[in-house]
């Protein structure tokens, strides 16, 4: 009896599934893939989104980490998946950097994607040991007076932080020595120990030391002053007019997503981003929660690819 019941089960499911699928997306679990280690910023943002989207969509959203080669392993994987909306990717600012930095990628950074929405945007801050430089102008002046005297520690070759430092050199004409560390925390330790003179990193890396008076925050890389630190001047208003670097997290999916699926996912993302809890969690990670249209996200990425390509060319950074 039981065996008979079980035997008919696949048939029953087969009959039931298409009926639902025709009028409702989604009818099974979805995935958010990202290219970084568990517990990192990308992973945490993915989990925050996945948890809320599961409830809104009525199907579980699973987070999958496929780390490697600065996130490009995951991108190559997602770009090859079916554009059915069940596979999404959490993209970060490094996506635009990778497009400029790698000689050959197993995917097209723009054309292989249906972009959905940004999630959070955040700038980088420039910090020096407290009392060493009165202002960002003083630091640039010192760098111009004695080329190569100022050492910038960054979180790895080809990181957005590194390229931002190179861009600062190009825009101001100052010559810096750029030294790579294994991650922002190691660069911060080097600043504290006196080995480097300046670091450029996110608020989460810098704020703890700044609050304790160990660091002076000299400037922010966004075009406008950042809401949570209104006293910090921008590079744009001080030493490098037009300087505008922000990084971001966003959601995308393989190119060719059906319009109704794209609309359903975008609407769900905007709903989640409007939630107070989610806004607080994203803000705790040092970002401003900001949604966007897919077209706005695509424009942002295309603009940044152009900027980083120029920086990499001019600074003669080795392409991979």
């Amino acid at each position: 009896m039981l065996r008979n019941l079980i035997a008919t089960l696949p048939l029953a499911i087969a009959l039931a599934v298409p009926a639902v699928a025709q009028d409702s997306f989604p009818d099974r679990s979805l995935r958010i893939v990202h290219g970084f280690g568990p517990g990192g910023n990308a992973d945490t943002v993915s989990r925050i989104m996945a948890e809320q989207m599961s409830q809104g969509l009525g199907e579980p959203v699973v987070v999958e980490s496929r780390p490697g080669a600065g996130g490009t392993v995951a991108s190559g994987y997602v770009a090859g998946e079916d554009p059915d909306g069940y596979t999404m990717q959490l993209l970060v600012g490094g996506h635009a950097v990778a497009a400029a930095l790698y000689n050959s990628l197993p995917f097209e950074p723009v054309d292989d994607y249906t972009f959905l929405s940004t999630i959070g945007q955040f700038p980088f801050f420039l910090a020096a040991r407290a009392g060493e430089y009165e202002s960002i102008d003083a630091l640039i002046e010192a760098a111009l007076a004695d080329p190569g005297s100022i050492v910038i520690g960054h979180s790895g070759v080809g990181s957005t932080q590194h390229l931002t430092g190179e861009l600062l050199g190009l825009e101001t004409g100052a010559e810096f020595i750029h030294v790579p560390y294994q991650g922002g925390a190691a660069a911060s330790t080097a600043l504290m120990g006196g080995e480097v003179d300046l670091i450029i990193d996110t608020g989460t890396v810098i704020r703890g030391q700044a609050d304790a008076g160990v660091y002076d925050v000299l400037a922010v890389t966004s075009a406008e002053r950042w809401p949570d630190s209104p006293d910090v001047p921008t590079l744009n208003e001080t030493v490098a007019e037009g300087f505008d670097v922000i990084s971001w997290t966003a959601l995308g999916a393989p190119a060719g997503l059906p319009e109704n699926v794209e609309a359903a996912l975008s609407a769900e993302i905007q709903r989640v981003l409007a939630m107070e809890d989610v806004q607080a969690q994203i803000a705790a990670l040092g970002a401003s929660p900001r949604g966007s249209t897919g077209a706005e996200l695509q424009a942002l990425i295309e603009r940044q690819i152009a900027v980083w390509t120029e920086v990499i060319d001019t600074a003669q950074i080795e392409r991979r």
Binding site: G39, P67, G68, M192, G193, G208, E318, R320
Partner: protein
């Protein structure tokens, strides 16, 4: 300090927090036993839980997983030759031969007790000297790290039973393997045969393959079905009085070495445990016994890696600087709770700061209490016949390796390293120095090239900076001592031969 510590203790003693402390160390212990699945996987899975806990409780639980897994790591190393972390590689060297000898229970007891003492000394240093240790750690810049690693590499070639020349050759092989991946200074790809290797060979693959899988292959080709004469009576588990007395020195030396290295962000437990091992071998009157199941060689590195995993919290708590990837995760949990870790943590959140430190004290006691009764159970695992036990272990290794980077390539590489490890053992080349070279090589390269960048290629910097100069002098002295003793032995041999001829 003591007052604040007692205040922290009163925080931990609240039943609710105590339960989470217990849960943390218990999960950590279990995770540590599973081959290949480290604290990092466990903590990232539990991170969402901390959304619903307050900052102190989350920190106490996550930290418990971290140092609990250090305890657990030694169990798989001793019983099955499976090092979960680089710090337990040296535990395999002595612990596994003891287990094969039928005295696994005693090895586990000595490991647990050494770990306990090491952990407690680490906590004591954390309470009494966190601030001075922090300022010492900050004086370690690129030149100091480079010199420290040179010293470490030299110590690495002392690890191993056979000839030092063979060990040294294996260190070089390890360094070569460490070159695979993106060059940290220029970003240029070296030996990246496939995109999965862009971030280098996985340490877990290498360790699991060279140690665990190769050992399984070797046993499979033997006729024996299980380990013989396994004893689980209490009398056989506890070491004799003479044995216990011989462990006092190694435990104290190991704890001191571990406490120091733990406080340096980025080097931590891995260097600590085999520096302790190499030191023991140097000071021992019977260095030839190392590698054959010598208790001091087991207890020194065990105390060292547990002391290091406690003092590893010094930079994390006093500066908000994570010493390794696991610490970064723990700090992430703090950030999600709205606390920005930094130098003000101790002042702004004294209950959290001292509560976490006091929880280490309590956690170590809990670990010792749950470990001793479990020893019997672990040892009984070895009564399972090989043909049933090993397939399960192979599957667990594959799952563990896969879970690190979701990479099938890593799993295939693990099995390949297993075969290579088997061949190496057949020709008496040891795997431990390979692993040490693999861990230390990239550290040396990064810090050396960083030094050259910052000081514009000035080699004199290594002897101009005081700490670096001292480390350099130690290295030279160690090389000098080795050459001197080699010549002395050679002369003696020549003289005795000469006497015979006359």
């Amino acid at each position: 300090m003591i007052d604040q510590f007692l205040m922290g203790l009163s925080v931990v003693m609240q039943p609710e927090i105590l339960i989470y402390a217990f849960a943390g160390v218990f999960i950590g212990q279990l995770i540590g036993v599973l081959p290949g699945i480290g604290a990092i996987t466990a903590i990232s899975l539990l991170l969402p839980v901390t959304f619903y806990l307050d900052a102190t409780t989350s920190m106490i639980m996550l930290a418990g997983i971290y140092y609990g897994s250090q305890y657990g790591g030694s169990i798989a190393s001793i019983l099955l030759n499976l090092p979960g972390t680089p710090s337990s590689v040296v535990t395999c060297l002595e612990g596994y031969p003891i287990a094969r000898d039928g005295r696994a229970g005693m090895a586990l007891f000595v490991a647990a007790f050494s770990s306990f003492v090491g952990g407690m000394i680490g906590v004591a240093i954390l309470v009494l000297a966190a601030i001075p240790m922090t300022s010492i750690a900050l004086r370690f810049g690129a030149p100091e790290y480079a010199m420290l690693v040179v010293l470490g590499l030299l110590a690495a070639s002392l690890v191993g039973t056979g000839s030092q020349l063979r060990s040294f050759a294996m260190v070089l092989v390890g360094i070569a393997l460490g070159l695979v991946g993106a060059d940290a200074t220029t970003g240029y790809y070296r030996f990246v045969a496939m995109p999965e290797l862009a971030d280098g060979i996985s340490l877990v693959s290498l360790a699991m393959g060279l140690f665990g899988v190769s050992e399984i292959i070797r046993n499979a080709s033997n006729r024996t079905r299980t380990m013989t004469n396994i004893s689980v009576t209490m009398r056989d588990i506890i070491p004799t009085r003479t044995e216990a007395r011989s462990l006092l020195g190694p435990i104290l030396r190991g704890s001191t070495i571990g406490s120091f290295f733990g406080a340096l962000p980025g080097t931590g437990a891995a260097i600590a445990s085999f520096m302790a091992y190499a030191t023991e071998k140097r000071v021992s009157r019977t260095p030839e016994k190392f590698g054959t199941g010598h208790l001091p060689g087991l207890s020194a590195p065990e105390s060292a890696n547990n002391a290091a995993s406690q003092t590893g919290f010094i930079p994390t708590l006093t500066l908000g600087i994570p010493g390794d990837a696991v610490m970064a995760l723990i700090i992430g949990a703090l950030i999600l709770n709205g606390i920005i870790p930094g130098p003000r943590l101790m002042v702004d959140q004294p209950l959290l700061f001292w509560g976490v430190i006091a929880s280490f004290f309590v956690g170590n006691v809990i670990l010792l209490l749950i470990n001793i009764p479990l020893i019997r159970l672990w040892v009984l695992l070895l009564r399972i016949p090989y043909q049933k036990l090993y397939p399960v272990i192979i599957v667990m290794i594959c799952v563990g390796v896969y879970s690190h980077r979701t990479s099938v390539t890593d799993v295939v590489l693990t099995l390949a390293f297993g075969i290579i490890g088997y061949l190496m053992k057949s020709y008496r080349f040891e795997p431990a120095p390979v692993l040490l070279g693999f861990v230390l090589g990239p550290l040396l390269e990064d810090n050396f090239r960083r030094t050259m960048l910052i000081y514009r290629g000035d080699f004199a910097i290594f002897i101009e900076r005081p700490i670096s100069a001292v480390l350099f002098a130690c290295t030279v002295a160690l090389i000098g001592f080795s050459i001197f003793s080699t010549i002395k032995t050679y002369r003696r041999n020549v003289q005795t031969r000469g006497a015979h001829e006359r």
